[in-house]
């Protein structure tokens, strides 16, 4: 199972109107890995994830997942994929159980099986008492937990996560990080898109850095750091994306409002 290429991306391009968001991404992803997919705002991270999940079908280039063409065999691919979106957008008038029941049934799970799995997963996040409460009453973190549970409901082989830790409390963050490592050990592949450098650095087997729609770095943290002395991923990210003048920018910001106050 390990080292088998499960995602092949060839010359992936995406335009939003005139804007060239993805400018020819080429990647091979092997199974059982946690892939940290990082980049500055607007680099094209979420767009890549949405294309790979089948949310955006209008793209250029070739993508095959588990040897199947994403354009032609979307359904077969979707059966093996779980997706946690960036924004915790859920139907607020439903309860987590009702939402997961819908997702489970659409994925071919029976009602009892869905209920059983939903209860178990929600229990891990200490959310079982909230299974029958309307999502409208939930905080952002609670909604995020519902999304994580519903993405894992059908035991997917490949999980796409777009900022999955957004809004989670410290305990839940630790728990999710541990969970991801265990899932990868079990042979699951995790495509983890995030801004949180420390988390990506700690859990990722491989880090892919994109900027302005292009891959600018690809490898494990130690591989990427072989020829430099960056002490952590954040420093490396700053160097590779060419934003090294943070100190000057902060000073200019302070000056701008000090001048106003005086």
């Amino acid at each position: 199972m390990n080292n088998q290429v499960i995602i092949e991306i060839r010359n992936l391009q995406k335009f939003y109107g005139q804007k060239h968001v993805l400018q020819g991404i080429n990647l091979n992803i092997t199974s059982g890995q946690i892939i940290g997919y990082i980049g500055p705002n607007g680099a094209g991270k979420s767009t890549t994830v949405k294309i790979l999940c089948g949310l955006i079908s209008n793209f250029q280039g070739e993508i095959s997942i588990y040897g199947k063409d994403l354009r032609k065999e979307t359904l077969d691919i979707k059966k093996r994929v779980g997706y946690i979106p960036e924004n915790a957008a859920l139907y607020e008038s439903l309860t987590p159980y009702e939402f997961m029941e819908f997702v489970g049934e659409m994925r071919g799970l029976g009602t009892e099986q869905t209920r059983d799995k939903a209860e178990k997963l929600m229990n891990i996040f200490e959310m079982k008492p909230h299974l029958n409460q309307r999502i409208a009453t939930f905080s952002k973190g609670m909604r995020q937990k519902v999304l994580i549970c519903s993405a894992l409901l059908h035991n997917p082989d490949l999980i796409f996560m777009d900022e999955p830790l957004s809004g989670l409390d410290a305990n839940s963050v630790i728990m999710v990080k541990e969970m991801l490592i265990h899932l990868a050990h079990d042979g699951k592949t995790i495509f983890y898109s995030s801004h949180l450098m420390d988390v990506v650095e700690k859990i990722s087997d491989r880090i892919i850095l994109i900027d302005q729609g292009k891959v600018i770095a690809d490898g494990s943290f130690s591989e990427l750091n072989e020829f430099s002395t960056d002490e952590n991923l954040e420093k490396m990210f700053t160097r590779l994306t060419g934003n090294t003048d943070h100190g000057q920018k902060a000073e200019a910001f302070i000056n701008a409002f000090e001048k106003y106050l005086l």
Binding site: Y16, G17, T47, K50, C53, G54, L55, I56, S57, N58, T74, L75, D76, K78, K79, V81, Y83, P85, N87, A89, L90, Y91, E92, S93, L94, T95, E98, F99, E101, F102, V103, E105, M106, R107, G108, N132, Q133, R134, A136, T137
Partner: protein
């Protein structure tokens, strides 16, 4: 355009400040709201640019077209008082509907509070800006609805009459807006939190029905022995009817008739709307603001509702009758729950049930009505086909909502055709809301006209079900509760609705002709409609609603 609208408030600066608002801040907030509106419709649409402008133009044409129907009727009316009375009743009803169905969400919109509340702005300024925002749109709508009436008024009664009519349109808008405001405040004083939200929804439904009833009764007050000469008899209570104030004002000035009765109407028209605005702006808006904050906190402070109800026997029967595949059943189940809980959906749909009851009852309360006249012949067909109104309301209200960000879930599950979601949605809404109501009313019709009309009740049911399916499947394929109202009421959709309205009229006529043809000829319609429903629900929907079509309307990126 926005700057032009804002400049119109200039002459009323002193009045706005008198009500306790900061004029500059008022204008800034109003400008922000109008700018946001201007860019809103394209927010989730793939056609980002110019969508709102085009939608507004389409809506304006639609409203002018609606006004045409009234104008065609008004052209026959000779007396100015009756003419303008009818015109104002029509306007008031349309505006009240608009406030209730659409602008109440603006009146109760607290989303901007996060931005505005931390800033040093007085509550009165925010409330006045909120009301001014609604006023701008209502005035535009009222003007579009009245364009043709204004032309006819000028032709029939002269330029002055047309000019004063335009002036009274604005007075009417103010009066309707603040009358609704006062009613809302009254209800908001009674309860708070989550209960308030629910109560407001039902209150809005009752008000919508009330205005419809008032419209029907108002029209019937007119003595129409001959349409051309119809006159409005002035009783003591006529002085309490706002449309009469405005009609009286126009009549007085154009005919230079300043008798006691006309002077009273003039005084009412010129004094009541400004005083109502002043009182509401000065004294009632602070209460409104406080209550709005309660409303915002409603979800958090209200007791959390636990949804543990098991699916009822009725649900299980309907589910097995209306949907078949696993995907359809899952969508049916989800939408059954959501339609029962989404406030905007119920708020838009439920008044149509009230209208049906009013349209059935009102003919019975006129002075010439005799119950035996009503219950003879084929009048029951009219009652049955009036239910078609629910179809129109059902299909459009199922589209409207703010759930666009949540539709990603449909695209990530492995489902070959999105048609199953749409089929599940419309059937759930139809089974949950239409079927029980029709069963009760159908039983009532059978009780009055006899069991012999039962086949007709069944035929009308099948016809309405068929039209509902066609109407929904031919709408733009937006996922349930995901489109803004302006997008739902767009020109192409409106044209389709008109086409299907004509078709439903023909279906009713066909039913009538079959009854007239020979005994039991109507029964031939049952297999015809049955086959059509089978085709539409099992075959056509899967051909019509494809992922390609869905991707065109819904934005997943």
């Amino acid at each position: 355009m926005i700057n032009m609208i804002l400049k119109m408030f200039g002459p009323f600066r002193w009045f706005i400040e008198k009500m306790g608002a900061d004029y500059n801040q008022f204008i800034r907030i109003l400008k922000l709201k109008l700018t946001l509106d201007d860019r809103k419709a394209g927010k989730f649409s793939k056609k980002q640019e110019n969508t709102q402008e085009k939608t507004l133009i389409k809506q304006s044409f639609f409203q002018i077209f609606m006004g045409l129907f009234l104008a065609m009727f008004l052209i026959m009316v000779k007396t100015p008082f009756t003419f303008f009375f009818i015109a104002h009743i029509f306007l008031m009803t349309m505006m009240a509907m608009m406030i209730i169905s659409e602008f109440s969400t603006i009146l109760f919109d607290t989303s901007e509070n996060m931005i505005i509340q931390p800033l040093p702005i007085k509550g009165n300024t925010v409330s006045l800006a909120r009301n001014a925002h609604v006023f701008v749109y209502l005035a535009m709508m009222a003007f579009c609805l009245s364009v043709i009436t204004i032309i006819i008024a000028i032709y029939k009664f002269g330029n002055l009459a047309g000019l004063i009519f335009v002036f009274t349109i604005f007075l009417n808008v103010l009066f309707t807006l603040f009358f609704t405001n006062i009613l809302y405040l009254g209800i908001m004083r009674l309860v708070s939190g989550e209960r308030l939200k629910n109560l407001l929804m039902y209150f809005q439904i009752v008000i919508a029905i009330f205005f419809m009833a008032a419209y029907q009764i108002g029209i019937r007050m007119i003595d129409k022995t001959a349409i051309q000469d119809m006159v409005l008899p002035v009783h003591w209570f006529t002085y309490l009817l706002p449309p009469a104030f405005f009609a009286g004002l126009i009549d007085a000035i154009t005919s230079l008739n300043f008798d006691q009765s006309h002077l009273l109407f003039m005084a009412e028209a010129l004094i009541i709307p400004p005083v109502a605005i002043y009182l509401t702006g000065k004294y009632l808006t602070p209460v409104f603001n406080r209550k709005l904050m309660d409303l915002e906190q409603g979800d958090r402070v209200s007791k959390v509702k636990i949804e543990t109800k098991r699916n009822s026997l009725y649900y299980r029967i309907m589910c097995s009758l209306f949907v078949h595949t696993t995907e359809e059943k899952a969508a049916f189940k989800m939408m059954w729950k959501m339609t029962g809980r989404e406030r905007q959906f119920k708020q838009t749909l439920l008044p149509s049930f009230g209208y049906i009851i009013i349209m059935m009852i009102v003919p019975l309360v006129g002075k010439h009505s005799i119950i035996s006249d009503y219950t003879t012949g084929y009048k029951y067909l009219m009652i049955l086909y009036v239910f078609m109104m629910v179809s129109f309301a059902l299909c459009s209200s199922l589209l409207m909502g703010n759930c666009q960000p949540s539709v990603w879930v449909f695209k990530t599950v492995p489902v070959a055709s999105p048609a199953s979601f749409f089929k599940g949605a419309i059937n759930a809404a139809f089974a949950r809301f239409f079927v029980p109501f029709y069963l009760v009313m159908g039983a009532g019709v059978c009780a009055v006209w006899g069991i012999k009309v039962l086949p007709d009740v069944v035929i009308a049911f099948l016809a309405i079900y068929l039209i509902t399916l066609l109407l929904y499947y031919f709408q733009q394929p937006g996922f349930p509760f995901s489109l803004e109202k302006t997008a739902v009421q767009g020109g192409a959709n409106a044209a389709k609705v008109f086409g299907l309205m004509a078709l439903s009229g023909l279906i009713g006529l066909l039913h009538f002709l079959m009854l007239k043809w020979f005994s039991f000829a109507n029964l031939l319609l049952i297999p015809v409609y049955g086959a059509a429903i089978y085709y539409v629900n099992r075959i056509m929907v899967y051909r019509k609603i494809t992922w390609k079509e869905v991707d065109r309307v819904n934005n997943f990126s």
